[in-house]
Amino acid sequence: MEGLTLSDAEQKYYSDLFSYCDIESTKKVSANGRVLELFRAAQLPNDVVLQIMELCGATRLGYFGRSQFYIALKLVAVAQSGFPLRVESINTVKDLPLPRFVASKNEQESRHPTSYSSDSENQGSYSGVIPPPPGRGQVKKGSTSHDTVQPRASVDQQEPVSPVVSPQQSPPASPHTWRKHNRHPSGGNSERPLAGPGPFWSPFGEAQSGSSAGDAVWSGHSPPPPQENWVSFADTPPTSTLLTMHPASVQDQTTVRTVASATTANEIRRQSSSYDDPWKITDEQRQYYVNQFKTIQPDLNGFIPGSAAKEFFTKSKLPILELSHIWELSDFDKDGALTLDEFCAAFHLVVARKNGYDLPEKLPESLMPKLIDLEDSADVGDQPGEVGYSGSPAEAPPSKSPSMPSLNQTWPELNQSSEQWETFSERSSSSQTLTQFDSNIAPADPDTAIVHPVPIRMTPSKIHMQEMELKRTGSDHTNPTSPLLVKTSDLSEENKINSSVKFASGNTVADGYSSSDSFTSDPEQIGNNVTRQRSHSGTSPENTAPPPPPPRPQPSHSRSSSLDMNRTFSVTTGQQQAGVVAQPPAVPPRPQPSQAPGPVVHRPVDADGLITHTSTSPQQIPEQPNFADFSQFEVFAASNVNEEQDDEAEKHPEVLPVEKSSDPASSRVAKTDSKIEEKTAASAPANVSKGTTPLAPPPKPVRRRLKSEDELRPEVDEHTQKTGVLAAVLASQPSIPRSVGKDKKAIQASIRRNKETNTVLARLNSELQQQLKDVLEERISLEVQLEQLRPFSHL
């Protein structure tokens, strides 16, 4: 404040006193007990003391800075000398004797305010108002300000319940002070009557007094802490509060003070070392905080809603901005509610602030709520729910609304379920991994990768057809068709095994659609393939191996034609079911003539079943040349046409190529009519369902074939009618395995090609995107220029 000139003696004296009072070693004395005791020891009337405090600006600041302290001391001297207290009197009154403080047993150079005597004296007077409070809080209480009265009243009411009651005990301003408070925590409530105006925290003091009565723990620190913390609350004459000090506590304080005084020097030295300590919560402090927490929220695992916490901390009389900052620091999970840890951290920060510590910018580590038992103070024992609760902060309480008292009850459960939350996340992550796993399964197997259990209508005939096509065209571009065809059928259905495998691969490459499907279905397909193959080899009616992949809903097909194909293939697939490896989207007839025998060979490679198929239908191999042997088709078709004629129409074009490939198969089929028929019969019912899938893949290649090889049409036309038959044939072709092998290669080749195309396209896409961005930027800049040129018409 005003300039204060001190004589040397005064300077020394004051600095000593300041050091003594500056327990926290922060160069600021927040109205801690020492200060109040000091003032009390000055044996000045309370109002005088209050006035002094006002004058020196401590009340304004909330704490005694060094200058304020000095001014206060000077004023004490002035008052003691009988001069009127004026701001100017600080400097005007000359030759003031040093302020006298009734020394207690405290040996600190007899400066230590011996409030004891004064306390006892005052107590009587204040007892009515302030039950012998531990003094500290009471100092404040008496104080003062009417606003404190309100809080106090509320506190009074609350104390018994104390939802947001100011801490009954002065929050441990410092580790040592804390100790004392421990005892008081709950006792004080009884003291409500503390001067209404008293600081909110007064009940705190009251509590202390109640419990401190006779509490030997009341070290000198205990009073100070409450005072330290709450002194700022009180403008009321500290003396009043001093008076309220417990005699017993006083005595205790005396003893403690002695200790304290003895340690003052140490404190000073400790300043630097203890700097970190302020943020540490000692056990006593923690216990205190926990008790306070309990008053607001009985469940230690629960939350304190923001409004309640606001009310509570507002009593500390800290400026709202600081409280807001404290809140920001302590509300770790930003949920608008305080968990026990957060509350303790907030409380600790408030205490520290009241004691003059500056608020940190970031929450100190020691105050951070940890997932597991945290603070070194490790008062864990006192906070049973802490562990679980500490986990909760990490878990973002369910509701963010600051004031949801109703949630208090739910919070505990939520807190308790924090572990569940954690596990939940784990679960979810694991599920994710599962899904990824699924998607990865397919690619793992090169054969099945991409594959989607597209039933490949790998009727030998079809394959042959394809091969023939290839031979004619001699181009691989047909290959893509096969994969496409395969794909369509894939999508439609997944059960075809070998072919399906190929198809799937082809599909993914060719179309990219439902590639994921293919992946997932792969494993199934594989299994199915195997089973199918075996079944096919056995040509048992049960070949309809369980449609491994769930019939892929066609909808994923982007190609409309594929739908048709699906249908087409479904027919064939159905037939296949009987004894053919899932013809899944008929492996688009591999346009590789050389593959004709290849597939046969591949088959064994691709799938064991294939081999069996081939073995089982050795006749099929040589039948490839029967590709054009439509007679068998007719024969076969006849048996199957009935079933599939409906679908044939659409499948015709698509099936044509398929037919070609399936011709050999059909021829084979013809030879194995018996088998086929059996299969067909057996698969008839399944045809419909399966038909779609086999159709899917085949359609693609088939389609391409159509485009690329019209010449096949003529041949195909002849068989249009038989397309359906073909489909059926294909479906039931035992020779499919062979074609599957060929198709597989073709599919793989097509896959490769498609992949390359994909990468090229992707690159192109990225380039275009970049260009787009650039263009947009240009556009923006042009717009800006336009705006510049255009008269600023608006804005």
Binding site: R60, G62, G306, S324, H325, E361, K773, V784, E787
Partner: protein
């Protein structure tokens, strides 16, 4: 990257506005004020649909030769306005979006603070820090001292009677 960040309340008064101190702050304040019209225009244009469907990010409100003004409005009609330097061409739309997202999150945190009364000036240090980081990024090469307090339009310390040292 921002040169000026402002949070405007529903009633179109500023809750928080902060500019790079070296610049003429009045100019930025004026720009923000005039951009409110554009914001309202955009809100009403989209207003036909349900509020939920309304996109929070408004995009470029209007460009001037030196600056571009971007807007963002929350569901509670709290508007965030950001002025960025036009010379900062590297700023993409998503960056602006992410900045607004950060702003929104910080604003939410401020709202969660029970000590904050909606409608009050935002004096949260955390919010300040976040805005500073956004502004400092842009000014790294230039004045890297976008001091929080000085730049802040809302003098926290001055407002505090206690004038505690914080």
């Amino acid at each position: 990257m921002a040169v000026c960040v402002a949070v405007i309340a529903k009633e179109n008064y500023p809750l928080y506005i902060r500019s790079i101190p070296t610049e003429n702050e009045l100019k930025f304040h004026y720009m923000v004020h005039t951009s409110l019209d554009v914001v309202d225009e955009k809100i009403s244009a989209m207003g036909k649909a349900l509020v939920d469907q309304r996109e929070l990010y408004l995009g470029l409100l209007y460009p001037t030769e030196d600056y571009k003004v971007y807007g963002y409005v929350t569901n509670s009609k709290v508007k965030f306005v950001m002025v960025v330097d036009s010379s900062n061409t590297a700023l993409r739309d998503n960056e602006i979006r992410s900045m607004f997202r950060k702003l929104h999150n910080s604003y939410t945190d401020v709202m969660c603070n029970p000590f904050y009364n909606p409608g009050d000036r935002i004096q949260s240090r955390a919010f300040d820090g976040m805005v500073t980081s956004m502004m400092i990024q842009a000014r790294r090469g230039k004045e890297s001292l976008v001091a929080r307090a000085p730049g802040a339009w809302s003098p926290e310390e001055a407002a505090k009677g206690g004038a505690e040292d914080l």
